[in-house]
Every structure is written in C-alpha cells, then in structure tokens.
Amino acid sequence: MSDNSQESKARNLSDRLYRGFSLLLLLCVSVYGAIELFFTINQLFNIEERPLYIMGSHNVMALIFGIPVFLLFAVAIVLKELNMLHENLLNAGFKMCGFLFIAMIATRIIYGGFFLDGYLEKHGYSYCGPMTAPKAMAMEVWVSDPGYCLEASRNVSSEVRDWLDAQMAAGVRPTPEEAEQKIKQLAQAYQARFNRF
C-alpha cells in the first residue's frame, strides 16, 4: 500500500516537473518571439534613419498570432494543474487555436506577400539574395544601395554585415566601389580557406 502511494507521489512529481518544463518553454518562446517582433516593427518604423541594410523577414509578423497560441497552451497547462480544465474550456481553446493558426497563415500571406517588399522598395531598399543565408526563416537582407549587394558576398554574408555595421557605427556611408573592394577582399579570404581542401 505504501509502495503504491509512493509510486503515485513520484508520478505526480514527475507530471508536475513535466508541466513546469512545458510552461517555462512556452513562456520563454513567447518572450523571445515578442522581442523579435518588437525589433522588426521598430526597424520598420525607424526606416527614415536610413540604415545601410535592413534585416527582416517575410514571416516574422505571423508571430503576432503565433505568440497567443503559445500563451493559450500555457494557460491550458496552468488550468490543468489546478484541475480547472474542463471539456468545454479545452474544446473552446482548440477552436481558438485553430482560428489563430489560420490568422497566422493569412498574416504571412498579406504581410510577406503584399506589404513588406513594396514598403521597403518605396523607401529605397532593394532585396539582396546573396546576403540572405540559404535557410528557411533566415533573416533576409535589404540594402540601401544596390552596390552593396554583390554575388561574391554569398559565402561571406555575415562578415559583410559586420563590416557594414562597423561603417554605420563610425558614421560612414561607404561608396559602392569601397563596398565592392571590401566584399571581394572578404570573398578572397574565404576562397583561400576553401582552397585548403
């Protein structure tokens, strides 16, 4: 009998730890998503400061509806812990989750497909494929001068961005010729490393 009660206590404890981990994960993910969203919106609002390049994403705005999905699950976990998660409440949560998911996809289509490119082009920025990492959801890069976007920067995009950041911090706007020279130099350094194999 005492063995059974000890076993059920241990199970309760592991369930609670499990739920605690899930809750922590959901909260961390929500906070991180909110920060990412804040920086993206902030960058778009401060576009008049004319940074040398803009790192954004066609997908990030979908998090406006993605974060409430995480929070919904966090609330469900808390309610379950308090034994207050009834069938009707759970089903209402699932329905809300479905609608938020549809809204998330719709936002991605409207913002990423129709708004972002036009907005940035209107402010003189052009999309730079070679500086965008070949990864799903990778932050995409738009440059203020098409001269900053060279095919040679494909394998050294982070180094090029670091250099542009340093130039911006020093208050210098490099000319396309200077950018070309620097990008070629960085690409040659990469090529030298690549040629070792």
Partner: protein
C-alpha cells in the same frame, strides 16, 4: 553401394542439379554486375565525352556546341537554385506540418460528413482496453466508419486522434524533417561549387538538432494538455500543427542569430586542418624512424649519446 533407383539417390541427383543451377545463376549475376571503374581528371572526362559524341557521328563543331549547351543548362540550374534556395528550404522546413495539415483536412472532412467538424470523442474502457468512441453518425463517414476504435488502432493513430495520434504525428514529422534536410543539403552541395562536405554535415546536424528540439517541445506542450477523457477529435492534431509551426518559426529565428550550421561547418574545417597537420607530423616521425632507427629510439627514450672511445 547405393541402388540406382532409390529415393535417396534421386534426392542426391536433384541436389546436384540444384547446385549446378545455383552456380550458373551466380555466374550470370556476376557477369551482369561486372563494373569497370575508370578514374579521370575533369579535362580527360570532357575529352572522353567529346570523343563519344564524335563516334556517334557528330562533327567537331556540333560536339562542342552540345557540350556548351549542357554546361549552360547546368549554369542556369545553379543560378536558379541560388536564387530560390531559401524559398525551397522554407517549403521543406514545413513539409512535415503540411503532411499533418493534410491529415487534419481528411479528418475534418470525415467528421463534417457525420454532422459536425468539431465533433468530440470519448475514451472508454472495454475489456480493460482504452477505446475511442466518436460522436455523430459513423455510417455517414468515409474513413472512420466504426462506432468505436481501439486507442492504438493504426487508422486512428495515423489520423492524429488522441494522445497516441499526436505522438505519431510528431515522430513522423521528425523523420520527414531529417530526410528533407539531407535531400536539401545534398542538392545544395551539387548546385553550389563552394559547398564542401563540412557544409553538408553542418547543415544536416543543425537541422537535426532543431528538429529534435521542436519535436521534444511539441510533445511536452501537447502531452501537457491532451489526454483527458473527452475532447474535440481534431484537437490533438491541430495542437501538434500549431505548436510545431510556432516552435519551428522560433527555432529558425534563433538559428539566424546563432548560425549553428555555419559554425559546425567552420569547426569541422578546423578539425580537418588540424587532423591533416597531425598526420603530417606522424608521417615525418615515420620517415625519421625509417632513416635512423637508433637515433629515433635514443630520442624517444632520451638516451644520451655516450662515446667511450674516441673513434679517431
């Protein structure tokens, strides 16, 4: 002496015939699968290809035109890949969620036929085993035509119903993500001349790490909520899709800062360089040992070079 028409003799003869037939089959198989391996430099290969075309009746000019056309197609393909590689990976990252969404669509349509898309199910125990009992009219449904199913029924699990269905959807999603990642990075290496095996291994390793993280996270969240006695039938699979897509978004945003695949590739490059340097040292030691064994052993065991008598 064995009598010539006994059954034992007949068996022996049959075995002999079978043995001969098997040997003939093996000989044929070996003959068909014989392959000649020729190692060529790129220049030799191009020359070989041009010669083959000439043997087929092409003129010198025509064979050169054919080669430049082939190379142009390859160049175009490379350019198109480089233009659209991140869009391809965006699609590939959500292949697993797309498959789950397809399963959700089939389930929702089936439930709609029986009266309500948001129909619930209940977990009831019959003969000590958990069964899933659906709300609505089973006769109107196309796939779930039974009144009740065992919770571990493959049809129910494959449609993502219940806790087992959710676990199955997450597991399948993980496997699909890894397969798609290997295919993507393999193609990326073919299409981009500057990609090496380091990028391939780094990319697949990073994708696998993120797939594990997303799968574990999705399971932790979904299992924390799903699992009560009664709930909406489409709930678990919907939860898997919504949480899975959300966590994939977050994981990939984190990666755009961490650049895990790139860092793993750089680490592998450095390891290879260090390994090559170590191998060079080993080779030097080996050649020193071969050229002067006594000197090598003296150096190895720090034996002083004592000369008792002057050799002069």
């Amino acid at each position: 002496m064995r009598p010539p028409h006994s059954s034992g003799y007949a068996n022996l003869q049959a075995e002999k015939v079978k043995k001969v037939q098997r040997q003939t089959q093996i000989a044929h198989a070996l003959e068909h699968h014989q392959t000649t391996l020729v190692v060529m430099s790129p220049e030799e290969f191009i020359e070989y290809a041009l010669n083959v075309k000439k043997l087929h009746g092409m003129t010198e000019q025509a064979s050169r035109d054919w080669l430049s056309a082939v190379l142009d197609v390859h160049g175009d393909l490379q350019q198109k890949w480089q233009q659209h590689d991140h869009q391809i990976q965006f699609i590939s990252a959500f292949t697993a969620s797309g498959m789950d969404a397809a399963a959700l669509g089939v389930l929702a349509r089936d439930l709609q036929r029986s009266g309500n898309t948001f129909a619930t199910f209940q977990v009831r125990y019959f003969q000590g085993k958990p069964h899933i009992v659906f709300e609505g009219y089973p006769g109107l449904r196309k796939h779930l035509t039974g009144t009740r199913y065992l919770a571990a029924n493959p049809k129910v699990v494959s449609m993502g119903i219940g806790k087992l269905g959710a676990a199955n959807a997450i597991k399948t999603g993980f496997v699909v993500s890894v397969i798609v990642s290997v295919a993507f990075h393999g193609l990326d290496q073919l299409m981009n001349d500057q990609r090496t095996w380091h990028h391939f291994v780094g990319g697949v390793a990073a994708d696998t790490i993120y797939a594990v993280a997303v799968s574990v996270g999705s399971w932790a969240v979904v299992a924390g909520v799903v699992g009560s006695a009664a709930m909406m039938a489409i709930g678990p699979i919907l939860a898997v899709i919504a949480v899975g897509v959300g966590l994939t978004f977050i994981a990939l945003y984190i990666d755009s800062h961490l650049q895990l695949s790139k860092n793993i590739a750089v680490l592998l490059e450095e390891c290879e360089v260090q390994l090559n340097a170590s191998m060079d040292n080993v080779r030097q030691v080996k050649s020193y040992y071969k050229s002067d064994r006594i000197g090598f052993l003296k150096k190895l065991f720090s034996i002083p070079d004592i000369r008792l008598f002057d050799e002069r």
